[in-house]
């Protein structure tokens, strides 16, 4: 279990690490790492491997919005059913049940403000059980998934030191 956690932490930091390399880093047999990764993939602990992209660099139009959603929980299924309905839209990037003044935090990605507004007005707000939405558009991204977008990768160290 300890090994699996370490494997996951390494892969979460760099999805390109090969089992061969992980085996060296953890000082475990390569076959053991391969088996562990296969198992973690099969049981959906590992959900995928992705690349983090700073889309601004390539000028891709992208609008992010946080929608606060208030809903009426349903008997027996609580927030589950409505959350599943909302979550199935591909426009929804992330979805969380929150404590506090609203119930669901819905992160939407679209090409334009109009597209996002259209989605909220025609898909999200009219859903049965949704009683209120508040839309916040993201103006600038400073940090995403633990990575500061403006940080350079400059090494300020002397090229050689004792």
């Amino acid at each position: 279990m300890e090994d699996k956690l370490q494997i996951l932490e390494l892969l979460a930091g760099d999805a390109r690490l090969t089992p061969e390399r992980i085996a060296v880093m953890l000082d475990r047999p390569e076959a053991e790492v391969r088996d562990a990764v296969a198992e973690l993939e099969a049981n959906h602990t590992i959900l995928g491997y992705r690349t983090m992209v700073n889309w601004e660099k390539v000028g891709k139009e992208r609008i992010l919005a946080l929608i606060e959603v208030r809903v009426t929980p349903q008997r027996e299924v609580g927030f589950q059913a409505i959350a599943e309905r909302i979550g199935r839209y591909p426009e929804v990037k992330s979805l969380y049940l929150m404590s506090g003044a609203f119930d669901l935090a819905v992160f939407i990605e679209g090409k334009t403000i109009q597209e996002v507004a259209f989605f909220v007005a025609t898909k999200l707000a009219p859903l049965d059980g949704v009683t209120h939405t508040t839309t916040h558009f993201v103006l600038q991204t400073f940090k995403e998934d633990g990575v500061i977008l403006t940080d350079g990768r400059d090494d300020h160290r002397l090229v050689m030191s004792p």
Partner: protein
């Protein structure tokens, strides 16, 4: 008159100190583009943000003055707790701990406090570059004890015993070791401790890499039975907390040693920078999780590097600490300086030649794995190509 040389008027002791063995390579590497440097003796991590933020906050609050000579009382208090908890050795924060401008200053103070003209100081070699010059500057006579790769660059009690003369005053220990990465198991340190006690040696234990121990547990020399009072323990924040540029270290030991060192420190340095001390306090209080994370990263890289050396075919013993490996490159037919210079010129990878750490480092290079996995991977690809080329060349020459 304008071209008159003043060298003859300099202090001859200073004039006789040799310039650093890495200077030439530093100059070469600094002028080149696209160099991957594995020649850096400091972490590649930037100081964790909460530590930097604490220093900024201290500046905002107006902490811009001197501190007590021996350091902020709160920092010494925290250090005493830390040393007791992590290394099992208790010090009185009022009289037995001195905060210094890096371990470098602490080492210089220890030498000046302890060494009288003509005293011999035992220095295991390969050795960090400062020990010999600082001994000379203090008026002492450095006596190098050569450690060998066959022994994993560990020091044996017999070697110490053999090197002791009636004039021997002090023994320097640096484990985990820079440049070799060697660590000393507890029982071997105990044997050295017996000699130190029998020969009444003062031990200066530079344990700056203590937290960077990957195999087994670090044994603090001062924690061995009977050693606390004859050991000047030196540690700092540079390596474990990625704080090299802040320059904060400390010495802990018997009040007579710390008192003498404080006397020199108060007249020559006055105190370490208050901002840096504030940052160090934050590091000790809230930085240990982050420290452990960084140590974990070093350990991953250590294994990658050892594996890469194995694949290249450069023999290397398994370094248990610090962030250095010290492979044997003699099989290429090149001296350590030739290897370093050609690797730099031909493949743009910078390492440090082993002879920069004394004659017994000849035939080796020091590789620092305080570098990103990406850079390590690329550097070892280049190094592999380089070594294969020289092997072939050597084989051709033999025919």
């Amino acid at each position: 008159m304008r071209n008159r040389s003043w060298v003859g008027r300099l202090n001859p002791t200073v004039a006789a100190v040799k310039p650093s063995g890495i200077r030439r390579f530093f100059d070469l590497a600094s002028e080149m583009k696209g160099v991957i440097s594995l020649g850096v003796g400091e972490p590649d991590f930037v100081t964790p943000w909460h530590i930097r933020e604490a220093a900024i906050y201290a500046l905002e609050k107006g902490y811009t003055m001197y501190t007590a000579n021996s350091g902020l009382p709160a920092l010494r208090q925290e250090l005493a707790g830390y040393l007791a908890e992590s290394f099992g050795v208790a010090y009185n924060p009022g009289t037995e701990i001195l905060v210094t401008v890096g371990v470098s200053e602490a080492f210089d103070l220890a030498m000046r406090a302890v060494v009288a003209p003509g005293d011999e100081v035992l220095i295991p070699e390969p050795s960090y570059v400062s020990y010999e010059p600082c001994t000379l500057l203090a008026g002492g006579i450095p006596v190098m004890i050569k450690t060998a790769k066959e022994q994993g660059f560990r020091l044996s009690a017999e070697q110490v015993e053999k090197a002791v003369t009636p004039r021997t005053k002090a023994l320097i220990l640096c484990y985990p070791n820079n440049p070799t990465g060697a660590v000393m198991p507890r029982r071997e340190l105990e044997a050295v401790a017996e000699v130190a006690a029998a020969r009444d040696l003062i031990v200066i234990a530079d344990e700056i890499y203590a937290q960077l121990t990957y195999e087994g547990q670090h044994t603090c020399f001062a924690s061995l039975p009977g050693m606390r009072d004859r050991t000047i323990l030196l540690q700092g924040f540079s390596k474990a907390f990625a704080m090299t540029g802040w320059r904060v270290g400390y010495a802990a030991g018997h009040g007579d040693f710390i008192g003498a060192m404080t006397k020199i420190h108060q007249y020559t340095m006055l105190c370490a920078s208050i901002s840096a001390q504030m940052a160090a306090l934050e590091a000790l209080k809230n930085g240990r999780d982050e420290m452990r994370r960084m140590v974990g990263q070093y350990n991953y890289r250590r294994r990658l590097v050892i594996n890469a050396l194995k694949e290249i075919g450069l023999p290397c013993f398994n370094p248990g600490g610090a962030f250095y490996v010290f492979p044997d490159i003699s099989g290429t037919g090149l001296s350590s300086e030739e290897f370093t210079e050609r690797l730099l010129m031909e493949e743009k990878v910078a390492v440090v030649p082993g002879n920069a750490f004394g004659d017994s480092g000849e035939g080796h290079i020091r590789i620092s794995y305080a570098a990103s996995v990406e850079n390590l991977t690329e550097a070892f690809k280049r190094m592999g190509r380089f070594v294969r080329r020289y092997r072939l060349e050597q084989a051709a020459n033999m025919v």
